[in-house]
């Protein structure tokens, strides 16, 4: 038989409990306090008797007690988890958490307010940390919202303010072409201007996509498997030929299966790859574009001759604003291949690049989902 543990001494439990006990008379004066609390405050239980509860609260705590706690206690009979600071006799403060209940007699008369107090030094320091973090987060969110507003504005400027004058320019050139007598030289210049406008439009489109993709929104696709892809790709080739009439472009399309894709986007991908080949490829070697379906894949590849892309540059090709060495007149924003890659990813496809002394080839492949 094990020995019975000694009976708990309730008086000692009250006096030396690991928390503070405090009873207030209805007028707010201290009617009883345990030794633990008196020790925290730096005085004796006897000295606390009859003093107002206010005397051991910081100023903020006193006002909060009068304006918030006393009413709440009176109305609902209890208040839990209050954060306070006790004022010690030496003027220092101890953070505490307290629960309070009203003790009433059989007639419902308020006899005491009983308060249990716990030291909360650590808890208060991490609460302060949380508040600081929250404040910082709010500042950051505010700054983020401002940036977002700027982005929206930026995208709108790109889309509207840049495209509108280009459309006006294109319409004006069209009028010149059709309605005004032009010399041979004049017609050549007008054709070149058409090409430049098309290139500028393509750059704006890339920039818009970059802004949307990078800064919010992302690329959205409107897929359509019912419509044929080949005519769209043929149109792209025609446009590039118009822009670069001096270059030979060999096209071969063998798309036998329906392709569930965003045809506008795939056209943009092909157009960017061709424009890239025109800018970087050797002028005397034909550019070729081939598109085919097979093995449950759509592949579109564009190749050109010319110098090899160095190994280390290949990794950078699809990064935004990456620009290889080209003639100044052909310099773009460095977004073409980035957009190509984004379009490929959006279709669940991939981009591959191979570059040898014979040719540089970009290949897009995407799965054909039945």
């Amino acid at each position: 038989m094990s020995e019975r543990p000694p009976a708990e001494d309730f008086e000692d439990l009250y006096e030396n409990a690991p928390c503070g006990y405090l009873s207030l008379a209805p007028d707010g004066h201290i009617a009883k306090a345990n030794k633990t609390l008196a020790d925290w405050v730096g005085t004796s239980s006897e000295a606390l008797l009859g003093t107002p509860f206010h005397a051991i609260l910081t100023f903020g705590g006193r006002i909060a007690y009068e304006t918030h706690l006393a009413p709440l206690l009176r109305l609902q009979g209890f208040v839990n988890e209050l954060a306070f600071e006790l004022l010690r006799s030496d003027g220092t403060k101890i953070p505490i958490i307290a629960n309070a209940t009203e003790k009433r007699n059989a007639e419902g008369r308020h006899c005491f307010t009983r308060i249990t107090l716990f030291k909360a030094v650590e808890r208060r320091s991490y609460e302060r940390g949380l508040i600081d973090a929250r404040n910082q987060a709010q500042v950051a969110v505010g700054a983020g919202l401002e940036t977002a507003a700027l982005r929206e504005q930026f995208i709108a400027v790109l889309g509207h303010d840049l495209r509108n004058p280009l459309s006006a320019l294109a319409a004006g050139i069209g009028l010149l072409e059709r309605k005004e007598p032009l010399s041979e030289r004049g017609r050549t210049i007008v054709a070149e201007m058409h090409g430049s406008i098309a290139r500028a439009n393509a750059l704006v489109a890339n920039l818009l996509d970059f802004a949307r993709g990078r800064l919010g929104g992302g690329l959205t696709l409107s897929r359509d498997a019912d419509q044929p892809l080949t005519p769209v790709l043929e149109q792209v080739v025609t446009e590039i030929r118009a822009i670069a009439p001096e270059r030979e472009i060999v096209a071969s399309f063998a798309i036998a299966q329906p392709v569930n894709c965003d045809r506008g986007r795939i056209a943009q991908l092909a157009s960017n790859l061709l424009a890239n080949a025109v800018a970087h490829g050797a002028a005397d070697i034909p550019i070729s574009i081939a598109a085919m379906t097979g093995a449950n894949l759509l592949t579109i590849s564009v190749s050109n001759g010319g110098s090899t892309i160095p190994e280390e540059a290949r990794e950078q090709l699809f990064q935004p604003f990456f620009r290889g060495a080209v003639r100044k007149s052909q310099q773009g924003l460095g977004l073409g291949l980035f957009i190509v890659n984004e379009i490929a990813k959006a279709h669940g496809g991939t981009m591959n690049v191979s570059s040898t002394e014979d040719e540089t080839r970009f290949t897009f492949s995407m799965p054909l989902i039945a």
């Binding site: 209805p26 007028d27 707010g28 107002p52 206010h54 910081t58 100023f59 903020g60 705590g61 006193r62 006002i63 909060a64 009068e66 304006t67 918030h68 706690l69 006393a70 009413p71 709440l72 009176r74 109305l75 609902q76 009979g77 209890f78 208040v79 839990n80 988890e81 209050l82 954060a83 306070f84 958490i97 009203e102 009433r104 419902g108 609460e127 302060r128 949380l130 508040i131």
Partner: protein, 261 residues
């Protein structure tokens, strides 16, 4: 809609209207016990200031409520909506001054003002004792900011079973004194930095000042100052202690109001 914005509650069977206005830190529940004693022979109006209780928090606007006049304008709007004339305004704590401003703005709306624990200015100056130093007020505002977590938890709507006072559990289902912590901080700032001493002499309504003993928020000398500066006023020292006699001694407060009106 003014009634929804201020959660206006109307009860009672009299023809004369008595409107009770709560102070900083609580809501209209603070007046429940006093107000019910007037229901037999008065039209009793209770409401929450915007930001407190069940007021419409979306109606809160830092600029409008940056002065007590913003709150007083709401009282005037409520009064106009109800067609109040020669009514009684009972304001606790900061609401005493809100009522004073409302009575000045809308002459004839309130013929009687009852101020419970009023203070026209909380901060001491050379020739005035408000009971607080400027540093103490700043400490209080810091306290409210610093205790955000603890306070919002304590003040958040709580559903309770109240064994001692079952009538409260049944009649008041949701919460007491629920305050949005951010708004409470701004209300504290407006309240404790206010100075309406210059407005006291403009009050024409008959005024009763009810003063508690041992009120650290509105000490007796402040209540006496208010009495000296309001032309047609009476001063009455209650036996109640603390700052909320409407809760700690509702019978005494109700009897004093009844005697006055």
């Amino acid at each position: 809609m003014v009634f929804k914005r201020n959660n206006v509650m109307i009860s009672g069977e009299g023809t004369r209207s008595i409107l009770f206005s709560h102070g900083f830190g609580c809501d209209q529940h603070m007046w429940t016990e006093v107000a019910r004693t007037f229901e037999r022979d008065f039209r009793v109006i209770l409401f929450d200031h915007v930001g407190a209780g069940r007021s419409d928090l979306t109606a809160y606007n830092s600029a409008k409520y940056a002065t007590l006049q913003g709150y007083a304008d709401d009282v005037v709007e409520i009064g106009r909506e109800l067609g109040l004339a020669d009514a009684i305004f009972v304001g606790h704590s900061v609401s005493a001054m809100i009522g004073a401003l409302a009575s000045v703005k809308a002459p004839g709306m309130f013929s009687e003002l009852v101020m419970v624990g009023p203070s026209p200015c909380y901060i001491d100056s050379d020739d005035y004792t408000g009971g607080f130093s400027r540093d103490q007020v700043l400490e209080l505002l810091d306290f409210l900011a610093d205790n955000h977590l603890g306070w919002s938890a304590a003040m958040a709507p709580a559903i309770m079973g109240n064994a001692d006072r079952p009538e409260l559990s049944t009649t008041l289902e949701n919460s007491f004194c629920a305050t949005d912590p951010e708004i409470a901080r701004e209300f504290a700032k407006v309240t404790f930095l206010s100075d309406n001493r210059a407005d006291l002499s403009s009050i024409v309504a008959r005024t009763l000042i009810l003063q508690c003993r041992d009120d650290i928020i509105a000490p007796q000398c402040v209540g006496e100052y208010v009495h000296e500066h309001i032309p047609n006023s009476q001063f009455r020292l209650l036996n109640a202690t603390g700052h909320c006699p409407n809760l700690s001694a509702p019978d005494e407060v109700a009897a004093a109001i009844r005697e006055f009106v």
